[in-house]
Every structure is written in structure tokens, then in C-alpha cells.
């Protein structure tokens, strides 16, 4: 089975930024994303609530390395200072590589 390498970018952040965050992702070249509801704790304290007051969401994007890095630095520059957010990157193998952007990394 032929697989190719792509980058999985995982972001955990406060739910309040959802719509803005998604807009940015797509502008930066993500062809899709997956979101799950989450709660948790970090530098900005415990986040666990309904009515979006302080819920978290966990967002995943599979894309080529270049796009992943572009998104990551964008988030660091525009979100880290003011919003509860972490992100991490990992290499994954995918089947239909085109779907996730040509790897220009």
C-alpha cells in the first residue's frame, strides 16, 4: 500500500476563537479540518464549561509541512498572546496525498 508523509497539526484552544481560527486556516491553505469538543487545563487555568463560556476545542489539520508551518507561525503571532491555545505538529502517513496538498517542504 503506497503512503506519503504529511503533517498533522493539532491545536487545542478556547472555543471562542473557533470561527476566526477556521477562516485563517482556510486562508492559509488547509483543505479540511476536524474538530472535537474538549476541556482541559493549562497556563491559563482550567477550561471546562458549557455555553462556550470557557470550553475548549481540539482542532486537527492534515496538510503539507509548508502549510502546517505557515499556520503554526500565524497562530503564534496572532493568538498566543491573548488566547488559551497550544499546538503541536507530528508526521503522519496518508493514502491520498493530493487531498492534503502537495508536499513542498
Amino acid at each position: 500500500m503506497h503512503t506519503e508523509t504529511r503533517t498533522l497539526l493539532t491545536v487545542v484552544c478556547e472555543a471562542s476563537v473557533a470561527s476566526r481560527l477556521i477562516a485563517d486556516l482556510e486562508r492559509l491553505g488547509a483543505r479540511g479540518y476536524t474538530i472535537t469538543e474538549a476541556r482541559g487545563k493549562g497556563g491559563r487555568g482550567v477550561r471546562d464549561a458549557g455555553w462556550d463560556r470557557s470550553a475548549n476545542l481540539r482542532l486537527e489539520v492534515v496538510c503539507d509541512a509548508a502549510t502546517a508551518h505557515a499556520i503554526a507561525s500565524h497562530l503564534r503571532d496572532h493568538y498566543y498572546d491573548h488566547f488559551a491555545m497550544i499546538l503541536f505538529l507530528a508526521e503522519v502517513k496518508v493514502l491520498r496525498a493530493r487531498k492534503f496538498g502537495s508536499d513542498t517542504a
Partner: protein, 315 residues
């Protein structure tokens, strides 16, 4: 006696369970459901009332209430920024919360007065809607000044189309259009169940209040004092305005309570977008951890007692 009003007892139960670190929680979907029903119900009630009378005579009252919504944050800001040494953004954000209103607190004062058999102007929800927004605008201006950087269009959407405002205003419009008879078939859900659903809401609010105590400790004494002191001042202003506007004693208590309450639905979301550098846990800790409990346990009966002195006969 308020403390014995069972809906308030549910709040006390929530606080007790939270303090004893019980694992009790309302699932967030249920909390949203309960909140949505309350917002729609309050809107519907107000709308039905509007459909009963001409709008014109209310316009002056409405303008006065909006003016109060603009004034309160302007009073709160300097206290927070200069006396409290809070950063500009934080002071502005907290000021916006206290200039706006808490729908949950309105629900409790309405339940309280009806339990006491005290009448009030049923169109009060209109004031709740009107008070949601002005303080947000003032807060944003206080934080960012009149610079061009505002994407007011997008902000406007954040402010007016947050679910809280949409449900409250939407319920109001539906009630207005449908009128008392039209709304009657859905009354079993939105009116008959109102207090039971409010009880569940308050149970969760009690748990939430306790969960804020940690943050609150970090915020220090000043904010804790502000979260009780400012509502008292605001209640005085709101009560006076109600008296000037010639509201009924009950209506005066409601307006005082609205002034004294701090928003935790519309404002946090809007401020998060408009003034992200403001630390949201400060305003939530104050509004949910101190002001909300204070108002429903002590404030409301207190404002009622004060108004009773103004109107020995009546209330």
C-alpha cells in the same frame, strides 16, 4: 422570604455541592438547553406585554434605560483603572460586564417578586434586551479608543448576533407578533416550566460560582470589593431612575436589580473578540463568583426593602 424561595435553594444546593467538591455537573448540552429556554421565555413574556400596549409611551423610558447602560461602565471604569490599578483593557472589559445585565438575575428577581405577590411592568424584558448592548460598545471604546482599527462590522455581528441576544430579542419579537393568544399553545413549555427550569439553571450557577473562587482569590480583595460595592451603587442609580420614570414599586426593584447585575453571556463573548488582551477570568470571577450570588441571596431582598421605604403603601 427570598432565602426560602426554592429556586434560590437550588442555587444554594449547587454552591454546597461545589464547596464539598461533588462531581455534580449539568451536562453542557443541558445547560445550553436550560439557558435557551430561559432566554426565549423571558423574551416571549416581554413581547406579549408589548403587544398589549402602544409602544410610543415607552420610548422615553427606553432611551433613559439605554442612557443608564452607557453611564454605568463610564462610572465603573475609572474606579477599576485608577483606584484598582487594573490594566486599561481589563478595567474596560469589567466595566462592560457591569454596565450590561445578567438574564439569570432578572429571572430570579421576576420569580422573587411574583412569589412575594408584587406586581411589576411585564415589559421589563425589553429593558433587559436594551441593556445588553450599550455597555459593550462603551467598553470597547474605553479599551481601544476611536481608532480606525475596529472592524465594527464584524464586531457588530459578534455583539448583536451572539446567541444570547438573538434568543432574547427573537423571543421578544415572536411574543410581540403572536400576542398573548398566539403564544398560549407554547406556554406549557415556556411559562409553566419556567421556574422549574430556572431551578436547574441556578443549580448549575451555584456550581459555577464555586468554580470561580480559585480565580477570584488570585484577583485579590479589590475586585471582590468592587463586585459587591459597584452593584450597590448601580442599584441606587437604577432604583432612582425607576422612581423618576414613575415605574411601579416592583418595576423599580427590577430596574435596580438589572443595574446591579453583571452580564456573563453576551458581554464575555463580545469582549473576547473585541478586547482579547483583557483577561476574561477577572470579569467572570467577579460577575459569577461574587455579584451573581450576592444579588440573588442578598441584593434583591435588600433592593426590595429599600423600595418599600420609598413606597410605604404598595410593594
Amino acid at each position: 422570604m427570598s432565602a426560602l424561595d426554592p429556586v434560590v435553594l437550588f442555587f444554594v444546593l449547587g454552591v454546597a455541592a461545589g464547596l464539598m467538591r461533588s462531581d455534580l455537573r449539568l451536562p453542557s448540552a443541558v445547560y445550553e438547553f436550560v439557558t435557551m429556554v430561559l432566554l426565549l421565555a423571558i423574551g416571549l413574556k416581554g413581547g406579549v406585554e408589548l403587544s398589549r400596549q402602544p409602544l410610543a409611551p415607552l420610548v422615553p423610558q427606553m432611551l433613559a434605560v439605554v442612557a443608564m447602560g452607557l453611564l454605568l461602565p463610564l462610572l465603573a471604569y475609572p474606579v477599576l483603572h485608577h483606584a484598582g490599578k487594573l490594566a486599561r483593557a481589563d478595567a474596560a472589559s469589567i466595566a462592560a460586564h457591569y454596565g450590561s445585565v445578567s438574564v439569570g438575575t432578572y429571572a430570579v428577581v421576576a420569580a422573587y417578586l411574583s412569589a412575594q405577590g408584587v406586581a411589576f411592568e411585564e415589559y421589563m424584558p425589553v429593558f433587559v434586551v436594551l441593556l445588553e448592548v450599550p455597555a459593550i460598545v462603551v467598553g470597547i471604546l474605553l479599551a481601544r479608543g476611536w481608532n480606525a482599527g475596529h472592524r465594527w462590522g464584524e464586531l457588530g455581528r459578534e455583539i448583536f448576533l451572539g446567541k444570547g441576544v438573538v434568543l432574547l430579542a427573537g423571543g421578544l419579537l415572536i411574543g410581540w407578533v403572536a400576542g398573548a393568544d398566539g403564544v398560549q399553545p407554547i406556554g406549557a413549555l415556556f411559562f409553566d416550566l419556567f421556574k422549574g427550569i430556572l431551578a436547574l439553571f441556578l443549580l448549575e450557577m451555584g456550581l459555577i460560582a464555586v468554580s470561580q473562587l480559585g480565580d477570584l482569590r488570585r484577583c485579590g480583595l479589590f475586585l471582590g470589593g468592587f463586585a459587591i460595592g459597584f452593584p450597590l451603587l448601580a442599584a441606587l442609580i437604577g432604583g432612582t431612575l425607576g422612581w423618576v420614570l414613575g415605574l411601579s414599586p416592583g418595576g423599580t426593584v427590577v430596574l435596580a436589580t438589572l443595574a446591579a447585575s453583571a452580564s456573563y453571556i453576551a458581554v464575555p463573548a463580545a469582549m473576547r473578540m473585541a478586547v482579547p488582551q483583557a483577561n476574561p477570568s477577572l470579569s467572570l470571577a467577579a460577575a459569577l463568583g461574587v455579584t451573581f450570588p450576592f444579588n440573588i441571596l442578598i441584593g434583591i431582598p435588600l433592593y426590595h426593602a429599600a423600595v418599600r421605604l420609598l413606597y410605604p403603601d404598595g410593594a
